[in-house]
């Protein structure tokens, strides 16, 4: 396959952006889709996070458990989320408080997106079909 000059430039630019993003966040999962395709991108790389960003925005007000990369699991009501997938929780409690009493006097907290390992969602908050369709659409490039 041959690329025209502008396509190649765009492709390099997107790959570079993805590399920078990957270095600065933990969301490898979100980039898997692009990694498998070596075709020139037709939309900005920020769209990759947009899907999950809007998805989390819809979950605001729901009870979630956020498991961090230091094995700490925090349960609370999702207050807000931003473009980096930083998460703000309210009425938080640590799942194993006897083992982790480090946050006993914290009720509201901000969790940096880069340290999140999993977000456990309420079953009724997951529309698998919708997510499947949306990720496939993104993978095709719109």
């Amino acid at each position: 396959m041959t690329y025209s000059g502008s396509q190649l430039y765009l492709w390099l630019k997107v790959e570079l952006t993805l590399f920078i993003l990957r270095e600065h966040s933990g969301y490898t999962l979100l980039f898997c889709v692009r990694d498998q395709r070596r075709t020139p991108a037709t939309h900005p790389s920020s769209d990759y996070k947009m899907l999950f960003f809007s998805y989390f925005k819809d979950l605001v007000g729901r009870e979630v458990t956020v498991e961090l990369k230091n094995d700490l699991a925090i349960r609370g009501t999702l207050h807000s989320v931003d473009q980096y997938l930083n998460i703000k929780l309210e009425n938080t409690r640590v799942v194993d408080q006897d083992k982790y009493p480090h946050m006993l006097s914290v009720r509201n907290c901000f969790i940096r997106g880069s340290v999140v390992r999993y977000v456990q969602l309420p079953p009724e908050g997951v529309d698998v079909e919708l997510l499947h369709d949306a990720t496939r659409r993104e993978a095709r490039g719109g």
Binding site: N70, L72, Y100, M103, S105, V115
Partner: protein
């Protein structure tokens, strides 16, 4: 973005920060930026151990680089006052492994 989880609401409040290397630093939030770099005033570190109660080390004015931050918690003064830190024993938090 005004709807995002900014730290504006925590400025001039007591916060409890957990860093990627597992430290717990408590202080007054004076400033922050997009990368979650923080400026903490009158800060101290709470050192957890299983052998003795929580030790508090005075640090003073501190800047913590955003890269190194896991959690920024709003310290509830009432809850914090009700804690008997000298009796609290726990393993130090594990470092974050990316």
């Amino acid at each position: 973005m005004s709807t995002g989880p900014g730290l504006e609401s925590l400025v001039d409040q007591n916060i409890s920060v957990i860093t990627n290397d597992g430290r717990n630093i408590v202080g007054i939030l004076k400033g922050f930026d997009q990368a979650t770099n923080l400026i903490l005033d009158e800060s101290h570190e709470r050192v957890y151990s299983t052998k003795e109660g929580v030790q508090q080390l005075v640090l003073g004015l501190y800047i913590i680089r955003g890269d190194n931050i896991s959690i920024v918690g709003e310290l509830d003064e009432e809850l914090d006052a009700s804690l008997d830190l000298s009796k609290l024993r726990a393993h130090p938090l594990k470092p974050v492994i990316h």
